[in-house]
Symmetry: C2
Subunit: 198 residues, 2 copies
């Protein structure tokens, strides 16, 4: 079945063009004509491959989460083995690094930066799985190892996530300037609060 591979390849090609345009000109520059020109075709490309701009926005949204998940995995590569809370801090560091390095993607994923687009419920769930899923697994490992204490892995993971996300979001909005020491303190706060003993 070479046809479906061909179709997938064309989808990937247009998606990469869209990602390139997004990185270069920001969400405002994401026009179908600009993307099509970058991909070397006509506007119809987006309609045959994605069914329109919302479809492409959905694909771009998912791609953003895929890249964020990849960045989180990379941040984990130089971290201590599972069960060490430092792994959670490492994930958080990768998270803020991604937000700073790919602000346009970050806006599309969390900020309604594409005018008409709101991600479908299933798409948000999929994106959460790629990223938040890693965090839950690491938190669970720490709970199992006894290096952290919480009523549930999900609860503590949500706390860690929103803490790091708040830092990344406010910094991206130009509302907050954070040096490395402050970032470190932020990453540690939800962990210190769930150390064993108390």
């Amino acid at each position: 079945m070479p046809e479906v591979d061909d179709l997938a390849d064309r989808r990937r090609l247009v998606l990469e063009s869209a990602a390139r345009v997004l990185a270069e000109d920001g969400p405002h520059g994401l026009s179908l004509r600009r993307i099509s020109a970058d991909a070397g075709g006509s506007t119809q490309l987006v309609y045959t491959l994605f069914g329109g701009k919302p479809g492409l926005a959905d694909a771009l949204y998912s791609e953003g989460f895929r890249r964020l998940g990849e960045a989180m995995r990379n941040g984990l590569r130089a971290a201590p083995p599972a069960g060490d809370p430092d792994r959670i801090a490492a994930i958080g560091g990768a998270y803020v690094g991604f937000a700073k390095q790919e602000p346009a993607f970050f806006s599309v994923m969390f900020g309604r930066a594409i005018p008409g687009f709101t991600p479908a419920r299933g798409t948000t769930a999929l994106g959460r799985e790629c990223t938040y899923g890693q965090l839950v697994a690491e938190v669970q490992a720490c709970l199992d190892a006894g290096t952290l204490v919480a009523s549930s892995a999900d609860q503590l993971a949500r706390l860690c996530w929103l803490t790091v996300h708040g830092l990344a979001s406010l910094e991206g909005a130009g509302m907050l300037s954070a040096d490395d020491a402050f970032v470190e303190q932020v990453l540690r706060t939800p962990l210190e609060a769930h150390r064993p003993r108390g």
Copy 2:
């Protein structure tokens, strides 16, 4: 000088129309023709009063922070007197309440929801003063009263702000569901970490 009052009144009227359209149709429905029609005039209104859509976006952005600051003050009305950390939790509760009640404003303020618009540096500083300023004052009062301990009021206030903001942002993005108990836990976390004694 009745003229300048008249001009300010017209600005306020158009701004209220814009806020109404924003609340009804979301950021995507914010078109100059729609706003002008709601205000009972022509597109030129926005150009004579605000110099174009970016100018109106800037005013709308500031208005959002004004309303958020007002919501925070209202949340403080039933709180204990200054120096009690519960006041900070009350501010946080008002913050997430505003984000839930005015998601369109919240997107404009923190999510780049108006296509071409990025707030000017001075505008962000002004908005931060209306909202973050309150938080810093309350944190400073707690430090003075000895009910909280931190190296600086600014550092702890930033920590509280980003924590609450992360919760509001992720919830608004459909990424996280938080019941009242979880919200309470989130609000308490940065405060517990800075209790005296340790």
